[in-house]
């Protein structure tokens, strides 16, 4: 193996590899085909969204969307849910992750198993179980937004945990906390003024990912009967033709904005490839 490798180096320096040429052609071909598949629906949607007025291209569909009071109320509602989910999720997961890092590393297996659960229990099954469990006393929570937020925390938990975990792994948590405490800081000071500022990039990316999951979410919102942005979009799709296309573009830009921003942030921390998937 080693001989072959050395051999490969010396031969390589003598001339170009014979298979590189056709391979590059194939690469470009697949890339072009893939780009077509990805871009054509986006372009078609954009074009469709401009046809709100007969015969001319105009932004009239967007004007309709933004002028609709329902748009504003449902979007605001989802935004509030996203903020609550981010707050609750971080409040729950940051201390847990720190505890796992500092005190009980063995519990990592347990937490990571829980991180797989939202995959095993798809949203539609989760909401079914939540309704059955919380629709009668003593825990009649179905009419409370708290249940929706709790469901969203479950959905975004794997992503939040992975982001926070990657953030903690990138800093030397033990040394930092011990240094802070030997300088006389209590747990509160250590947590808020040492640990949190050091993982702020990870927290921001967790927040953005959660935002992109929650804002357009349909399944939980529709089954728990909340006037959220996802159900509103679905309703629009039933009645109108061009406005849904405009909504799709708006929603894509939101997703694009939050994910691109998040990936830009996360490039500076170690967690590579830890943000995959979504809620469909």
């Amino acid at each position: 193996m080693i001989v072959a490798r050395n051999c490969a180096r010396s031969r390589n320096s003598a001339g170009p590899r014979n298979s590189a040429g056709p391979r590059k052609v194939w690469s470009w071909l697949w890339l072009v085909l893939g780009s077509l598949y990805f871009l054509v629906p986006l372009l078609a949607t954009f074009f469709f969204s401009l046809r709100g007025k007969k015969g001319v291209l105009s932004l009239v569909a967007y004007a309709h969307v933004f002028k609709d009071p329902q748009f504003l109320t449902t979007f605001t509602f989802s935004l509030e849910m996203a903020v609550l989910t981010i707050a609750a999720g971080l409040a729950l997961i940051i201390p847990t992750a720190i505890w796992v890092h500092l005190r009980v590393p063995r519990a990592r297996v347990l937490i990571e198993t829980f991180a797989l659960l939202p995959f095993v229990i798809p949203p539609i099954v989760l909401v079914f179980g939540l309704i059955r469990l919380f629709s009668r006393p003593p825990f009649a929570l179905v009419t409370s937004p708290a249940l929706l937020v709790a469901g969203y925390v479950v959905l975004s938990f794997p992503y939040i945990f992975r982001a926070v975990d990657a953030g903690l792994r990138a800093i030397d948590l033990r040394v930092l906390t011990e240094a802070a405490q030997s300088l006389g800081a209590g747990w509160g000071t250590t947590f808020f003024r040492v640990v949190l500022p050091n993982i702020r990039v990870a927290l921001l990316s967790a927040a953005f990912l959660t935002f992109s999951i929650v804002v357009g979410e349909l399944t939980l919102a529709v089954m728990l009967a909340w006037p959220a942005f996802g159900p509103y979009m679905a309703l629009m799709g039933r009645d109108l033709a061009y406005e849904p296309a405009a909504l799709a573009i708006v929603s894509f830009l939101l997703t694009w904005g939050s994910i691109a921003f998040m990936q830009m942030l996360s490039r500076s921390i170690a967690g590579r490839g830890s943000f995959t998937g979504g809620v469909h």
């Binding site: 193996m1 072959a4 051999c7 490969a8 590899r17 014979n18 298979s19 391979r23 590059k24 690469s27 697949w30 598949y37 629906p41 949607t45 074009f47 469709f48 729950l92 201390p95 847990t96 505890w99 796992v100 005190r103 009980v104 937490i111 659960l117 995959f119 095993v120 229990i121 798809p122 949203p123 539609i124 099954v125 989760l126 179980g129 469990l133 925390v153 479950v154 992109s212 999951i213 357009g216 349909l218 399944t219 529709v222 679905a234 799709g237 033709a241 296309a245 909504l247 799709a248 894509f252 997703t255 998040m262 990936q263 590579r272 490839g273 995959t276 998937g277 979504g278 809620v279 469909h280």
Partner: protein, 275 residues
Amino acid sequence: MGLAPFLLFALAFMLLPAGAILFGSFQDAKGAFTFLNVAHLFRPGILRSYLLTIEVSLVTALGGAVFGFLLAYAVTQGGLPKTVRGFLVTFSGVASNFAGVPLAFAFISTLGRVGLVTVILKEAFGISLYDAGFNLYSFWGLSLAYLYFQLPLMILIITPALDGLRKEWREACENLGASPLQYWRHVALPILAPSLLSSVILLFGNAFGAYATAYALTGGFINLVPIQIGAQIRGDVLHDPNLGYALALGMVVIMTLSILGYTRLQKRASRFTRS
């Protein structure tokens, strides 16, 4: 101790709801124990629904895996500029999260009855997709839409594995006189096999649990298991709520099996993946 809040939360909002489904599956309308609900899952109508869901998931998992692999290979080892790779990975991050209602709208605007591509094909080339049997709101249309989040997910999870494929291995093969086919047959594929297989399983589960996209695209008129469960929650269409729980339990069982397969294979794959 410090884990108590989290464990309580997980118990209340993950384990107990799942338990509620489990218990409901083995109860009749009066709350007595029964195997009847689970037995009813094998009725032709429900079995067909499971089979359709499995077919959609399998087709989009395999399609996503093959094309995602080719794209990921093109940008990692195919000699394309580095910026292309960065762009594709960022885009995949967005696209794998672009699902549900907006994704359905995008495909309706593209391949719906008056969608852009449908109209262009008809007016410019005289090809009528819908006369040829294509329907966006049925199996192949739905699969095409699912691919939009399956393919990017594949790109995201297979790229690290492809990075683990060292250039020296190919060069060694070439120098020892192996053809590209032999290189793939004896070196690259055996190394990538666990990653590829586990990706297919993950993609399968990803499609299997999807509800929002199918609901928004077909308006609930496609016989997928998630859609059936949704209809059951909204109103008692099966005339038997406990059958609904059994339906959900069946999903959880299939998802559990796939995640077990996934984690096992990932462990094997991690030997070769540079993390």
